[in-house]
Amino acid sequence: MAQQALLIALFPLCAFVIQALFGKKLPRHGDFVSVLAIFGSFVVAVPIFTKLLTQGHVFETFQVTWMALPGVEASGKLNSAANIVIGVLINNLTAIMLIMVTLCASLIHLFSVGYMHGEERYHLFFAYISLFSAGMLGLVLSDNLLTFFMCWELMGLCSYLLIGFYYKKPSAINASIKAFMTTRVGDTMFFLGIAALYYVFGTSNFMELYKALQQGAGHDVMIAGFPALTFIGFMVLMGTIGKSAQFPLHVWLPDAMEGPTPVSALIHAATMVAAGVFLLIRMFPLLEASHTILPIVAYIGAITAFLAALIAIVQVDIKKVLAYSTISQLGYMVMGVGVGAFAPGFMHLITHACFKACLFLCSGSVIHSVHTQDMREMGGLKSKMPITFATMFIATLAISGVPGFSGFVSKDRILGGALAYSMEHQGHYLIPLLGFATAGITAFYMFRMIYMTFFGHARDEHKHHHAHEQPVTMTIPLMILACLSFAIVFAGPTGIESIDHMMPVKWFDHALEGAQHEMGIAEHLSPEAEAIHHHAHGLALILSLAVAGLGIFISSITYLKHILKAETLKKMAGPVYPLLWNKYFFDEFYIGILIQKGLLKFNHFLAVFDDKVIDRICVDGWRDITMGVKSIIGRFDDVVVDRIMVDGTADVTAGGGWVLRQFQTGKVQHYLVLTVMVIIVALFYANLGLK
């Protein structure tokens, strides 16, 4: 089965090759190739998933030697210790990820057919997006960090290409290079983490890593002055921070909205950015073993979630709101992993992928219809676009944490985990605090978006007039994704555990338990801890319902009923508002200070240094030295010194025609004189030596 599973990644890869080479000549510019390929992947992924559902557990591996690097043992025999082995790992996590990615990708492909219709470079769009799907699926299938990283980077490339898809637009290409470079900061460090992993464990295979960790390997190794596990853990975290747009490398994701909307849905909401969280989950045993990293993870997540949510409040671009909300939700997942709520973190990854993809596609549908992204120019679209409205509303309920929807289940569990963590570890009260605050803010800005877009009166009559519902290829994906936003898909009818625990089938929890067992992190809580957890989850349920309700309430009275003026809120915020509007001045700091004042100045300095100091002074400067000798000797003999020393010696040693052009006579005999002098010196020494 593992070999067949490779097809899941290979289908889109083949589609990419076909599209890139022949796409332009195919009928319909070959969009069907990509769509069929990803549906093929979905079809292959389904049996794996059904196996998980029916048997509760899947585990398959398949490995090949990719690079044989023979080493020699002391006895002189060749060995293969350094060989690089890659392969496919299919376990519960993989199976869930596969079905999620293939499903979302299929739907988004389908949506793109309508959305991108008639665009220039239509075939390339599908080529890139197929390559992306191949990368993401390859990443999910990888059983080792090396291929994981390769796919990771491949996705980075596709992200770059797709953000810069409208390559004539300066803002788009700036955003694309920013995205690539910012994530590459994290990627580079992630790669160092992989190298360190190789050094410590001699492998990057996940299963072997888990086994080694269970045996307690790696605790006594130091790297560059740090404990190895902490070093690796930190580097892996940096990878996540780059890819999942966590604070402080979150700046690229909002700009990435320059890409076409399906790209935002697929890459910058559902899959690629979630890959960072997936990485943390895959590496969880290592993070846990290092002890120092997990709190950092939790804080990074909590801070990101909170800061991004705050910015989202003031955004007026519908896609930017969603972008910041994505950052914020990713922060939740990271926080969940950080507080040890590993399963809820993963669950949130999946649920978020579904409802965020839905939200993005809905926003795409709106944008496609009214040709603007500015929410201030929308309004009152509810009647014009009923399906879009309904699906988007469902997804909004899900992300806001309303019971009965998927987002509620996962978010509530994360918050419960965070609360339990702060109860167990005194002093970490900031984490749940930020978490709950974010939950409220999320509900607020999401409903703000819904109200501004669909309710009220039309603010731009012209645009409103032309608005229309989208064709069926675009609405079907919306509906399917909206269906997946209900809690029942993942947990139970309401999502509230105490009510739902009679439900016989809780496939998700079973699958995750299996996965945890496999990783060697199966929880065996002490009775006290059990009690704390139970208590915390109960408290979290009440609190999260309360804050979400509060958020929705404020949003409603402000943007729906206009009882509270948005202007009043703005005034109340005081100096915070400009801070949020300018996104905490991160861009100014990175681009203005670090890059322009720092890096580019330094580059320029080095280039000048290279040209003027090393080349001109150190190399060509021999001329000046000989010239200096000349002036010391003075006018000893015009003929000898000026014409011969300078013309001859200086130029030859000077090492450059710059000198030759200025001082050289080009006369044979002057060189000969020099030659003869050398001969004399040589003979003189020969005489000395022969004595």
Binding site: V639, V640, I644, Q669, V673, V676, M677, I679, I680, L683, F684, A686, N687, L690, K691
Partner: protein
């Protein structure tokens, strides 16, 4: 017999002096011819009969004539005075003398390090006719350099013809 050798050496050096110092290039080249002849005699006395012959044929018969041709082709005997304009002479003179002195000293001292044959063997070697010996050497252990020099000569000839061809 040594008188002849001494005379030859004097002739060699004296005419070389003329070559070095005479302002007229034509005279210089004619005296170069005498130098070559003197060297040929020295070769003869060193037991190098074949070389002496070759010296006469190649240098006296070939090179010198070539040089004279070149002079006549380039410096119209009637139009341009043949006096050779000189560069500054002091430094070259110093250098040349220094070279001569140091070279002689170096060689003189180096001689001691060379293997020395018995006087009988040397005498026997000097008195043997060399043509046959050289022939064997050239087609024996020196075959490769010999072939190389053949190609060099051919190349030089072709090159010279090509360079001097009419436009």
């Amino acid at each position: 017999m040594n008188k002849v050798l001494l005379l030859a050496e004097i002739l060699t050096v004296a005419s070389a002096l003329v070559v070095g110092f005479h302002p007229n290039i034509l005279y210089a080249s004619v005296f170069l011819l005498f130098t070559f002849c003197g060297v040929a005699v020295m070769f003869l006395y060193a037991g190098a009969d074949f070389l002496a012959g070759a010296q006469i044929i190649i240098y006296v018969g070939g090179v010198t004539i070539l040089i004279l041709f070149a002079i006549m082709l380039t410096q119209w005997l009637y139009k341009i005075k043949l006096a050779d304009l000189r560069n500054k002479m002091i430094l070259p003179a110093i250098l040349s003398v220094a070279v001569a002195v140091f070279l002689y000293r170096a060689l003189h001292q180096m001689v001691a390090t060379l293997p020395l044959q018995t006087p009988e063997a040397l005498e026997k070697f000097t008195s043997t006719p060399k043509t046959a010996l050289m022939g064997h050497a050239l087609l024996g252990s020196y075959l490769l350099p010999f072939e190389a020099i053949t190609i060099l000569l051919l190349g030089a000839m072709v090159g010279a013809v090509w360079l001097a061809r009419p436009e």
